[in-house]
Each structure stands twice: as structure tokens, then as C-alpha cells.
């Protein structure tokens, strides 16, 4: 359901240029350039091993890319004007005149990408704090705010009232997200005790508790049944509307991808082979070839069309 009407108002949020990630001789991501727009749900699809998760890990700081630039603008795309200065000034981030800050994600350590650039993520194989309660999981996600409010522990040790207020607010926020994902009744149970689908939702709530501008979801619908997938769609659309959020989504479930994404980028062998709206992607012969392969007698036709 691409929302064509608001296309004009959506500017660039994330610009990835020439991103390359090599593991020894293996090139997992190969000179990839990619743009995600503010407010969009951008899906990244591709066959297994296409480099989608590696791409995510480069954006969120879990890998240091071998080459390339990953820039994220807060506020509006006017912030990108500060990009050359920041790039050559050797800075991790920079603020343009009268605009938001621009972050060079490939230079920042992972935790600062989450903290300063406010890029949150979930994981393909769920990574919750299994031995902690749902509420605690969401409180840990608000660590940056709470830790500052606790005067970096010292004020908290002394029991300052300001910290108690901050903690009460954090609990309210956690409760809000638990209601959103329909798990408020299980707030005091360990996260490891939840069924699979609920764990996926909790991971999204945990990411949202960090107040992200960009939410990166690595296969959020994997292992969900059709009803749960539909609920996930509704949840993602809702939080996008209500929290001024942009979403980057790796997904194999085409039901989810085609229904909720505004733009889709297709990766194969570490390269972007197509990009556009769901309708365009659905009709793109290169995508069909990458996913399904082609009959032997049509190989030449397709290769001609694709430009090989």
C-alpha cells in the first residue's frame, strides 16, 4: 500500500553510498548505494545470502564496513549539507546551520548509533534479556535516559527525587508499549517464558523504547502464523503513524512486504538489483529472475533484458 500522495513531503533520511563489506575473500555487500526516505517503510528483500543482514549490521554498527559511507539525517534532509565537512573533518557527526544533525554511522560504535543517531534494531534470531521480566526489558532499553537521570548512579544511590520521577516515567512508557503490543498482563513474567510471536513483538517494543528515528527490523515476521503477521502489519503501520518513525525492514514474507512497504530494495549477491514501489518490484524481471530463476530457453531473452 504505497502512499503515493505524500511522496513530495518525504525527504531523505538515510543515504548509503558505495557500501562494501568484505570478509576475507567474500564480498558480502558490494558497492551498495541506497536511500531511505523519512516516514517510509522501506523493505529490503533478496534471496538467502544476498547480504541483507550484513547490510543491517553495517548500518547499526555491529560491523565496520570495509568501504563506503552511511549517513543519517535528523530533522530534515537539509542536514546532509553538513556531510562533506563532517566526512573530511574526521567527525562522527555534525550539525548544519538551522538543520538537524547528520551522523556518519560507519564511524560510530554500535551503542552510540543507538544512543545518539537513534537507530534501533531487532535481530533475526530474537535477542531478548530472557531472564528479565518484560518490564525490565523495556527499562533496560531506556538506559540512556535513566542513567543520566540517576546522575550516573551517584544520585540514584542517594535516592534523589528526580531519579524516582524519571523512573516512574520510564515505567509508564514501558507500560504504554506493553499495552500497544498486547502483553501488559504478562509485564512481570520473564521474557524467556513468552511464546515466539510475543517475543518478536516485545523486541519491537524494546527497540521503540529507545526513541528511535529509524527502526531496523530483521525478519520480524519469521516464524509467525498468518494471523500474527497481519497483527504485525497493523502494529508497524500504527507506530509509524504515531511516532514519526521510519522503518527499514528485512523480510521474506511477501504478504508483509507488499502490504506495508512504501519502497522496496532488492539485493542479490551484495548488490542492489532493483528498487521502487511494491508494484514496480512485483513486475521487475530481474527480481523474478533472482528469486525464481528462469527457464533455460528464456535465459538469453532475460539476460538481454537485464543487460548482461
Amino acid at each position: 500500500m504505497a502512499d503515493g500522495a505524500s511522496d513530495a513531503t518525504r525527504d531523505d533520511l538515510l543515504r548509503v553510498e558505495n557500501l562494501t563489506m568484505r570478509f576475507g575473500g567474500l564480498v558480502a555487500v558490494d558497492k551498495l548505494s541506497f536511500t531511505a526516505r523519512r516516514g517510509d517503510i522501506t523493505a529490503i528483500i533478496g534471496p538467502n545470502g544476498a547480504g541483507k543482514t550484513t547490510f543491517f549490521n553495517c548500518i547499526t554498527g555491529f560491523y565496520k564496513p570495509t568501504e563506503g559511507r552511511v549517513a543519517l539525517a535528523h530533522g530534515s534532509q537539509a542536514a546532509f549539507e553538513a556531510l562533506p565537512a563532517a566526512t573530511f573533518g574526521g567527525k562522527q557527526w555534525s550539525k548544519a546551520e538551522g538543520a538537524g544533525a547528520v551522523f556518519l554511522l560507519e564511524r560510530m560504535p554500535g551503542f552510540e548509533i543507538a544512543r545518539l543517531a537513534r537507530v534501533a534494531r531487532t535481530f533475526q534470531n530474537i535477542r531478548l534479556f530472557a531472564g528479565m521480566t518484560l518490564l525490565e526489558n523495556l527499562l533496560v532499553a531506556q538506559h540512556t535516559v535513566l542513567n543520566a537521570a540517576s546522575g550516573y548512579t551517584i544520585g540514584g544511590l542517594l535516592g534523589l527525587a528526580s531519579f524516582k520521577r524519571a523512573e516512574a516515567e520510564a515505567i509508564d512508557k514501558a507500560a504504554y508499549w506493553l499495552r500497544e503490543i498486547g502483553l501488559i498482563d504478562r509485564a512481570d513474567d520473564p521474557a524467556g517464558d513468552l511464546p515466539y510471536g510475543a517475543q518478536r513483538r516485545l523486541e519491537i517494543a524494546r527497540a521503540m523504547c529507545t526513541d528511535p528515528v529509524l527502526l531496523c527490523l530483521d525478519e520480524p515476521a519469521a516464524g509467525l502464523n498468518p494471523r500474527e503477521s497481519a497483527e504485525l502489519n497493523a502494529l508497524l503501520l500504527k507506530i509509524r503513524e504515531e511516532h514519526a518513525l521510519s522503518i527499514l525492514l528485512i523480510e521474506h514474507d511477501m504478504g508483509v512486504v507488499m502490504q506495508i512497504s512504501d519502497r522496496i530494495a532488492v539485493l542479490d549477491y551484495g548488490q542492489k538489483i532493483a528498487g521502487g514501489t511494491p508494484e514496480e518490484i512485483r513486475a521487475d524481471p530481474r527480481v523474478i529472475a533472482a528469486y525464481l530463476g528462469v527457464p533455460d530457453d528464456e535465459v538469453e531473452d532475460v539476460e538481454a533484458e537485464v543487460g548482461l
Partner: protein, 532 residues
């Protein structure tokens, strides 16, 4: 065909001729005897002793034979009376309910018998004269029984007081309504038991009045030092999930800080205490930096090496630490400036108009370490509910997820090392002030292992578990000093048994640091141990 096969394949209905069973049983007992002989022959039968500085082998095969025979007889009895009954489809555990009344009765009888034996004057003395080895074992059993009875009685009394106090101020545990008496009594165990323990700890010097008071208070002080060390290490291992095998290094740094500063500059204990904590924390950070990238077994090995480095530096830096001779005449603790001396002006006894008694100093030391340990506990419990404590636990659960929510894992790990080390440093300086003499010998790897054993046995992350484990490990080691090396055998055996029955320690599971509706304990099976 099938009819004839079935009885043979199914052990449930298998019936063997009587003679075969007897032969089986005897063969089994024989094999057991051989295995036991092999084990005891090497462990008990070959004893080494130092005579005039030379290591001499003292064979005592008689003892080993007796032990192996005892094991074989035990096996025989089990075979005949228990396992043969199990052959008709019942498992050993299914037998327990039917045997429970008998076991209960036997237990009660054993307690009464043990107490009676113990209370007969001169009984132990006559045993000494009568049967040498038997004495040790019987005396130990009697000791254990009285110790268990005394402590159970004490805890129950304290819990009754706590319950009474709660009822007076109008709190009633909800679960306490309408169940069996014992169930009602232990209804709010989790909350009342720690308070009861605290109550006992506070009045312990008064409880132990009698001829063995000095020994009891000394042992209690010893236990409290380990409780404090356990609580300190619990931050690193239990909360942050970083396996530290060199914790004794921080203990040593604290002890030498106090010893050096007080002997060189004459500063008082209370000034040196924060300094000792500071230097230990500094060493914690120094240790933390290089091991940040290590996980699991590698982390354990490197921390162990760091612990040894400290000890070897202390041993070899003669000019500063006195090398193997250590540091002696470390100023003893004073009562806020009043020394506990026999003679002289302005001593504790003279100022308060008391007759000099060495006990005063010991009781004071006891309360100092109690206060320090409680401070450690208070701060740890407080930290657990702060963002930093939650970040430690999150680090133990999943380090990568921590980074994804913006937690700086480097500083989080370093604070865990530093704060854990600080409490170790406090305990170390107390140790130096209590002993008056320290040398590198007090800070061997065994100490690290012991403190870690306390934390693991108690249950990773559990404050109460550390107390129980310290009382069991240090208290029993002290109590069974007569048994010499056998106590290490018992120590190892009991650790193995605990790891089989309660692999996550005596108090497994964790209490959530925050709750929305009700605080529910989390089963240990969900909680991760951490991989560094």
C-alpha cells in the same frame, strides 16, 4: 513366540531364579569392593607426611581396606533390600514416599540419639580412649547434628520473633491462611528468613556467651569476611556474568594498602578503608581493560593469571612488601581512637570503666565486619535497582542486545569490575587490621576458588545464597577442623551433590528489579550465567 519373548525383554516382569540373584549381588558387591579399594587405596591408603623436612610415605592399607569393605557392604544391603524391590517396575524415587515415615522416624531418632551422645559428659573422652578413628567420625556426626539442631532452632526462633513483630505492626502474609502449621510458618519465608538471619547476626555475641565464645565470634567474623567477599564477587560474576577467578587480587590490594599506609604513615583504619577500596577499584579497572574483549573460559584464565601476578609481585617486591616475610605489626583496630590494650592510659577498658577483656576487641571486630558486609549488601541491592545494575544483568543476558539499545558495554563492564573490586579491597583492609600480619600466603588461588565456590553454591546473583553458602563452606570447614584432610573430601563431595541436585545453586532464580503489578520470582532456568 511373542509370549515367550516378552518377559525377557521387559525388565519389569523379569524374574530370575533365586540363586542367580545371589550370584549377581555378590559379584556386584565384589566389583564395588575392588573399585572402592582402588580409590581409597590411593586417596587414604597412601598417606604422605613430612618427617624432619623429608616427605615420607606412610601406608595405611588397613584403613583403606576397612573403608572399601564398608562401601561393599553398603552396596550389598542396597542390592538386597532396595534395588531388588525396584526390579518390579518401581524406581528408587517412587519408593521414597512409602519410606518417608521410616526415614522421618529414623531422622528424629538419630537427632535425639546424637544429642544424647553429645550431652553425656565424658562420652567423647571415652571414645578417644576407646576407638581412635571411630571417634573422629562419631564426634563429627554428633557435632554436625548439634550444629544443625542449634542453628535450626535459632533460625526458627528468630523467624517466630520476626513473624510476631510483623503481626504486631499489622502485616499478615496472605499465604499464611488456612494451611498446615509448618506451611503457615514458612509462608513468607523469602521475606522473613533474611530478617531472621540479620537478627541472629546482630545478637550473636550475646548468644554465644560461654566457654567457647571467643572461638564462636572468631568463626563468625571469618564467615562474615567471606560473606562480604562473596557479595563483592557476586556483582562481577552473578550480576554482570563475568567469570573472575582472580578476585583474591583485590582482597590482597586492599590488605596491603592498609598494611603499608598504616605502618608507614600511621594513618588510622577509617582513613585507609576508603583508600583501600579506591586502590582495589583502580586495580579492578586495570584488570578490566585488557580482558574486555575476552569471554567465557578465556576471561576466567586471564583473571586467574592476574590474581597470581599480584601475589607474585607481592612475593618478590621485597623492598616494599617485605616479600615472603610479609608485613607485621600492622596497627590493630581501635574503638574510634581508643585502643583495646591491657594497660596504658585512655584504653577502651579504662575509659568505659571495664575490666580488660580481649573479648572486647573481638566483639568490636565482629560488628565492624558485620557493618561493612551490610553496607556491601545495601549498596548492591540498591545498585541492582538502578540503571547500572539493570545494565549489568542485561549484559549477562545478552551483550549484543545491550549494544543495540545504546548501553556502553565497556564502561558497564568496567564499573562492575571496579565496584566488585572495591568491596574486595574493603574486606582486605579489614583482614589486615584483624590479623595484624599479612603475607602473600594469605592470597593464593585457593582463596579465589573458595569465594567463587561460595557464589556458585549460593546461586549466582543471590545475596541470601551467598550467606548460606558461606556459613556452610567456611563454618563447616572451621567446625570440622579435627577431620583434617577428610573435610576436603567431604567438601568436594557435597559440592558435587549440590551441583547434581541444584545445578543453579542453593538459591536459584532472581528477583526482578522492578515490577508493574506484583514482584514474581524468576525461575533460574530462564536466567543466563553469562559468557563474559
Amino acid at each position: 513366540m511373542t509370549d515367550t519373548l516378552q518377559p525377557e525383554t521387559s525388565p519389569v516382569t523379569r524374574t530370575l531364579p533365586r540363586a542367580a540373584i545371589t550370584a549377581d549381588v555378590i559379584k556386584d558387591a565384589g566389583i564395588t569392593f575392588l573399585i572402592a579399594l582402588l580409590l581409597f587405596g590411593s586417596i587414604v591408603g597412601l598417606r604422605t607426611e613430612t618427617v624432619n623436612g623429608v616427605l615420607v610415605l606412610m601406608p595405611q592399607f588397613g584403613k583403606a581396606l576397612a573403608l572399601a569393605a564398608a562401601v561393599a557392604v553398603g552396596r550389598l544391603l542396597l542390592d538386597v533390600f532396595i534395588w531388588r524391590r525396584m526390579k518390579d517396575g518401581r524406581t528408587f524415587t517412587s519408593l521414597i514416599p512409602s519410606a518417608l515415615p521410616i526415614l522421618k522416624g529414623a531422622g528424629a531418632l538419630a537427632v535425639v540419639f546424637g544429642l544424647a551422645l553429645y550431652s553425656i559428659p565424658g562420652f567423647r573422652a571415652s571414645l578417644v580412649a576407646g576407638a581412635g578413628t571411630v571417634h573422629g567420625a562419631l564426634g563429627a556426626v554428633a557435632d554436625l547434628l548439634t550444629f544443625a539442631c542449634e542453628s535450626t532452632f535459632l533460625v526458627m526462633a528468630a523467624m517466630a520473633i520476626v513473624r510476631a513483630a510483623r503481626l504486631i505492626i499489622g502485616q499478615t502474609p496472605e499465604e499464611a491462611v488456612g494451611q498446615g502449621m509448618l506451611r503457615r510458618f514458612t509462608a513468607d519465608f523469602g521475606r522473613e528468613f533474611p530478617i531472621a538471619l540479620l537478627l541472629i547476626a546482630l545478637v550473636l555475641p550475646a548468644l554465644t556467651a560461654g566457654p567457647s565464645q571467643r572461638y564462636a565470634i572468631d568463626t563468625a567474623t571469618q564467615i562474615l569476611i567471606y560473606v562480604m567477599l562473596g557479595w563483592g564477587l557476586n556483582i562481577v560474576v552473578g550480576l554482570a556474568g563475568l567469570l573472575d577467578l582472580g578476585y583474591v587480587a583485590f582482597y590482597a590490594v586492599g590488605a596491603y594498602t592498609y598494611a603499608l599506609i598504616s605502618t608507614q604513615f600511621g594513618w588510622s583504619f577509617w582513613v585507609c578503608l576508603p583508600l583501600a577500596g579506591f586502590f582495589a577499584a583502580l586495580w579492578g579497572i586495570t584488570l578490566g581493560f585488557p580482558v574486555l574483549r575476552l569471554r567465557g573460559d578465556y576471561l576466567a584464565i586471564v583473571t586467574m593469571a592476574f590474581g597470581e601476578i599480584i601475589r607474585i609481585v607481592l612475593l618478590n617486591w621485597q623492598s616494599l612488601t617485605g616479600g615472603p616475610n610479609g608485613i607485621n605489626r600492622i596497627p590493630k583496630l581501635t574503638f574510634f581512637g581508643l585502643p583495646f590494650d591491657r594497660t596504658g592510659e585512655g584504653t577502651f577498658a579504662s575509659v568505659f570503666g571495664l575490666k580488660f577483656d580481649p573479648l572486647h576487641r573481638m566483639v568490636f571486630l565482629y560488628y565492624v565486619i558485620l557493618a561493612l558486609a551490610l553496607l556491601t549488601n545495601f549498596i548492591t541491592l540498591r545498585l541492582r535497582r538502578l540503571p547500572i545494575g539493570r545494565a549489568w544483568e542485561a549484559l549477562r543476558e545478552d551483550e549484543i542486545a545491550c549494544r543495540s539499545v545504546g548501553i556502553n558495554t565497556v564502561t558497564t563492564k568496567l564499573t562492575a569490575f571496579a565496584i566488585g573490586a572495591m568491596f574486595g579491597g574493603f574486606a582486605g583492609s579489614f583482614f589486615a587490621a584483624r590479623q595484624g600480619f599479612i603475607s602473600p600466603e594469605s592470597f593464593t588461588f585457593m582463596e579465589s576458588a573458595l569465594v567463587l565456590a561460595i557464589v556458585v553454591l549460593g546461586g549466582l546473583g543471590s545475596q541470601l545464597g551467598v550467606v548460606i553458602a558461606a556459613v556452610i563452606l567456611i563454618g563447616s570447614a572451621e567446625r570440622f577442623r579435627d577431620l583434617e584432610d577428610y573435610r576436603m573430601l567431604i567438601f568436594g563431595l557435597s559440592m558435587v551433590l549440590v551441583m547434581i541436585w541444584r545445578p543453579r545453586g542453593l538459591m536459584s532464580g532472581r528477583t526482578p528489579s522492578a515490577f508493574l503489578k506484583a514482584r514474581k520470582n524468576i525461575s533460574g532456568s530462564f536466567v543466563k550465567e553469562g559468557r563474559g
